[in-house]
């Protein structure tokens, strides 16, 4: 089981556009094989921080996700709206 945490600081005023892009990304990613969860969270103190929490059955499914049509189309668009982006891939230990 692989956990991905993708933390993003968006530019002021870009949240609404980002959310409509994320809606499609979430819907299509959840339908992918090996996707156990794909959830978007907003920081309760800073609404410009949007973090995606993903769980995948394996690294192979995560790799396939990053090569999917919707990922390759949507993620670069989100990239233009972000000031900071930090992604970590984890294994559960406790």
């Amino acid at each position: 089981m692989i956990k991905v945490i993708a933390k993003n600081l968006f530019k002021q005023g870009s949240i609404e556009n980002a959310l409509s892009l994320y809606e499609e990304l979430v819907e299509k990613s959840r339908a992918e094989k090996g996707c156990l969860s794909y959830e978007l969270f907003q920081d309760i103190e800073n609404p410009c921080i949007l973090t995606m929490l993903e769980t995948w059955e394996s690294k192979e499914y995560l790799k396939a996700h990053s090569e999917s049509e919707h990922f390759k189309r949507i993620v670069p668009q989100l990239g233009k709206m972000r000031e900071q982006h930090e992604i970590n891939v984890y294994a559960k230990i406790l």
Copy 2:
């Protein structure tokens, strides 16, 4: 539902001690009222990055957690082993 992501960069050589402290923290935190999940993850590329993913029923339960005996005893000890610490409290939006 409240999600907490506490990301930590530990000093080289401190992981084993950190893990034994985390074992107790995880066990006692999971037993607390309102704790829906309390899981520790290790970055697959950098083993010095340990991130706790917590889910709480409400901010009130999270607050009680931060005032618990085990939290107040263990977390400062972990603090001495860390180089960096980043904590965000989130609400789910998608």
